[in-house]
Symmetry: C2
Subunit: 340 residues, 2 copies
């Protein structure tokens, strides 16, 4: 069913999940598209992003951002075209990406826009993935926090994912050995065949510790940690002196209430004078274009590969987060809106 | 009983402890003082150091240094005077500090010497404490890893200890709020009255979490962690955005076999884009004099206070480590040798 040109379909938070958000925690409503005030723009969203961070956004616990309120439009990154503008910075026809929500239309005074999309020769969907916050996150998490040096071993969890796959490829381009960890044979094959990892390990198979030791005979210098949990527990004992662990996500932890226990990390960090650092991409907002200047040419030259998994229609949005945590997706997950 | 001038009393490791080394794991033997070869010096030790790190040195598990062998002289920092020299770098009469062992006399080609003690106007014992690796550790752990800024809150565990007390005082000198955590009322009083902490909390009293919240109303920017365990578990939830946690020791963990569990740290680090870093003072060996140039004037001016707890006679050495882990010492623990 095509969207009415005057109605804005919105996915709103209906109830607050304790753990991973499911379809039942959302509902779709229709609201009128508001009139623009001075300084505002109207964006017609073309792609909605589905991200693991959304779990944190809807949980009530204090987090790195305020939780989405019940009855509010689900916070989400979206990309679309400015279809009406009373803001000279974003003229009609511009392509933009930002926190425009899971909805057909977004009105913003510009604050929600994270970036004007300048790579108009490339698909707009990339601005939500490899040339969006996923790629930007990978670039700064690896380079600014991981600080890899040629010849080092970089281990990547969620190695086939939207961020991890970029981390692995960038590490390889910088002369590192890249070892990926992913769930299931399909994903580990993708790691090696599509993303060029030197080795890829299936965490669902028995013997992860042993497999890791064998895949990292010289130990681990950089660990891109997007999972926490038992995958990280297997990596930590292998870290080298002055290793750098970059915490980008905690996908393997289904709930932080009650707070999960695990092996204490302090001794590993002390014995190796190693570093573990949480990474939030917002800290690098003033440097996004630096990342894109590095990433976009690699995409154009075919040296930075990506996978997308596109679901059609806003109706797919409510149930689209839970799958991410079951490891079902095989690429950056997006919702494509009809008639956009 | 004074040491024989021709015999060298040595504390050797008799058996390997699983956890904290006790008196029974050592024995004292007498050996002849060897003849010097070319390039060697003979040091008459005056003070032997007792350090929490010794637990790690005698445990068999892989660590940041090779374990002391059974029957070998106990590895230890000592300070003394060169009484015979065939090495022009350390002439007779020089004062030196280094890994000279728990023994009356040490022979070395100079490699065991960490530093020639140049502050001859100050007691030699300080070269094992506030002007030794304790002070140097505090200086670099705080400044190079903790990176405190004026107005920030610095929390210090083992706050009354040889390293912690220096961290707290340096933090105050740099305009920070310093909150100490120590065991028992005597130590918390020492923290405030002798070392100038803004607040000091007794981890043995109930309600540490609540007391910490109240003592750190603006959260925690730097955590000097010398304990791990439940003290750290109480600090971690209070860290601020971009907090720095410096892991200097794990005094509250009595054994790492079996490996202890605790609340997972990843979420705290991620939510706050915070950093947790293991600190080994050896990484700063080329910069020791920089620390001493900052610390020695503060000692001379009475602005950097310290406590020593001096035990007399080498017979006190074997049982001197265990007490540290029971929180019994009230200052830097040293063994003073007779006739030295």
């Amino acid at each position: 069913m095509p969207a009415s040109p005057t109605l804005n379909r919105q996915v709103v938070l209906k109830s607050r999940p304790l753990g991973i958000p499911q379809a039942e925690h959302f509902e779709i409503r229709s609201a009128p598209v508001p009139e623009l005030r001075d300084g505002e723009v109207l964006v017609r969203n073309q792609f909605l992003s589905v991200d693991p961070a959304m779990r944190g956004w809807v949980n009530a616990a204090a987090n790195y951002s305020e939780p989405v309120g019940i009855g509010e439009v689900m916070r989400a990154f979206s990309a679309g075209r400015v279809v009406a503008s009373r803001n000279p910075r974003y003229p009609e026809g511009s392509l933009v990406m930002g926190l425009l929500g899971w909805q057909d239309y977004a009105v913003t005074d510009g604050k929600a826009i994270r970036r004007q999309v300048l790579e108009t020769d490339l698909p707009l969907s990339l601005s939500l993935g490899v040339l969006g916050l996923n790629g930007i996150t990978a670039y700064f998490a690896l380079n600014a926090c991981g600080e890899p040096k040629a010849g080092e071993t970089v281990v990547v969890s969620t190695a086939a994912g939207a961020v991890g796959s970029v981390v692995g490829q960038l590490a390889r381009h910088q002369g590192c050995r890249a070892v990926g960890i992913a769930g299931g044979e399909d994903k580990t094959r993708l790691c090696v065949e599509a993303f060029g990892y030197d080795a890829a390990l299936d965490y669902q198979a028995p013997g992860l510790e042993q497999a890791l030791s064998e895949a990292c005979p010289g130990g681990v210098d950089v660990y891109f940690d997007n999972t926490a949990g038992r995958i990280s527990d297997a990596v930590h004992p292998l870290i080298n002196r002055h290793a750098r662990i970059v915490i980008c996500g905690t996908a393997s932890v289904s709930s932080w209430d009650p707070w999960p226990q695990g092996p204490r990390i302090e001794r590993h960090l002390l014995n190796k004078a190693a570093r573990m650092q949480g990474f939030l991409v917002w800290d690098y907002e003033h440097r996004y274009e630096e990342a894109l200047a590095a990433l976009a040419p690699l995409v154009r030259e075919g040296k930075l590969r990506y996978r997308e998994e596109i679901l059609d229609g806003i109706e797919a949005a409510p149930g689209s987060i839970a799958d991410l945590y079951q490891g079902k997706n095989m690429g950056k997950r997006l919702i494509r809106l009809e008639d956009a």
